[in-house]
């Protein structure tokens, strides 16, 4: 069966170029560090682009997952290391 390629229209090509530009700026948008004018442009684009909205949502969730990521609790330092560290700290603090 012949595969059907999606027809590319000038509007679709323009959308794709815009999506690429938006894609590069998504992290700064998520972090709230994107300059105001670029931010406004991005918001305008998002109004009409559901794939970009979905991508932004998944990127935000990725950031949330990374921030929620926890490692197992650390084992305590060995008694010798603990003593050495605490001794060194107390000496350093005592020194003027």
């Amino acid at each position: 069966m012949k595969s059907r390629r999606p027809r590319t229209t000038p509007a679709r090509r323009a959308r794709s170029r815009e999506c690429r530009a938006i894609f590069a700026a998504l992290s700064e948008f998520v972090d709230g560090t994107l300059p105001a004018s670029a931010c406004q442009k991005l918001r305008e684009h998002l109004k009409g682009c559901s794939p970009c909205i979905a991508y932004l949502d998944s990127l935000q969730k990725t950031v949330d997952l990374c921030q929620a990521y926890q490692t197992p609790a650390a084992p305590p330092p060995s008694p010798a290391v603990r003593r050495a560290i605490l001794r060194a700290f107390s000496k350093r603090v005592a020194r003027p």
């Binding site: 998944s58 926890q70 084992p75 305590p76 603090v93």
Partner: protein
């Protein structure tokens, strides 16, 4: 840009300055946990993470009075932990050393369609409980090239700001921003493969 809250490492370093033995004990517990956790995220194995914590804290004990403020000390601590960790005995079998290209990371047209919204319908609380998703996240982080992985860990998990990450990594802030974005996108794309998999087959 508003000042961020102090990280738990900065808080612990503040306790150390007080000179009280009880505060030093408290600080040691927090720092041990923080540096071990950082080591686990970067190296991925407990033995290297333990070595990292031990060496880093011993060096901290020798040097911590040299620093003008807690922030500078925190940056120094992560620098030491980073280099200790990268000297780890067990080299990651992942972590290829290459650049991530934004063009390659961008999904092609039609690949980031509306079905994503359904795949990604997951709250952070749910995600924390889902061991498999957590494992996928871990695998994706360890598959990142080293320079990108460190930026992601320092920024997202350790709570450092862009300038501090740049100092720890000895790179420009622009490089931190670029790496952070690509690292996030890489991890997002790896998780997407998992979330889009056909479901319903009991293991």
């Amino acid at each position: 840009m508003p000042a961020r809250d102090p990280t738990r490492v900065e808080q612990a370093l503040d306790w150390l300055q007080s000179g009280s033995p009880a505060d030093a004990e408290r600080a040691l517990a927090v720092l041990q946990d923080a540096v071990f956790g950082f080591g686990m995220k970067v190296c991925g194995n407990p033995a290297d993470a333990e070595d990292t914590a031990q060496e880093t804290l011993l060096r901290l004990a020798r040097s911590f009075k040299k620093f003008p403020n807690t922030r500078a000390l925190s940056v120094w601590l992560y620098k030491v932990a980073r280099s200790q960790c990268l000297m780890g005995r067990r080299k990651s079998k992942f972590a290829p050393q290459h650049m991530l290209s934004l063009d390659e990371l961008m999904p092609s047209q039609g690949q980031h369609g509306d079905s994503e919204t359904k795949s990604w319908a997951i709250t952070p609380e749910e995600a924390v409980l889902q061991g498999e998703l957590r494992d996928r996240l871990e695998t994706a982080i360890h598959a990142l090239p080293k320079g990108y992985r460190l930026v992601l860990i320092l920024r997202e998990m350790e709570g450092l700001d862009t300038r501090e990450v740049a100092e720890v990594m000895d790179v420009s802030e622009a490089t931190v921003k670029m790496r952070l974005h690509r690292a996030r996108v890489f991890v997002r794309n790896e998780l997407d493969k998992y979330l889009r998999r056909p479901r319903g087959n009991p293991a």
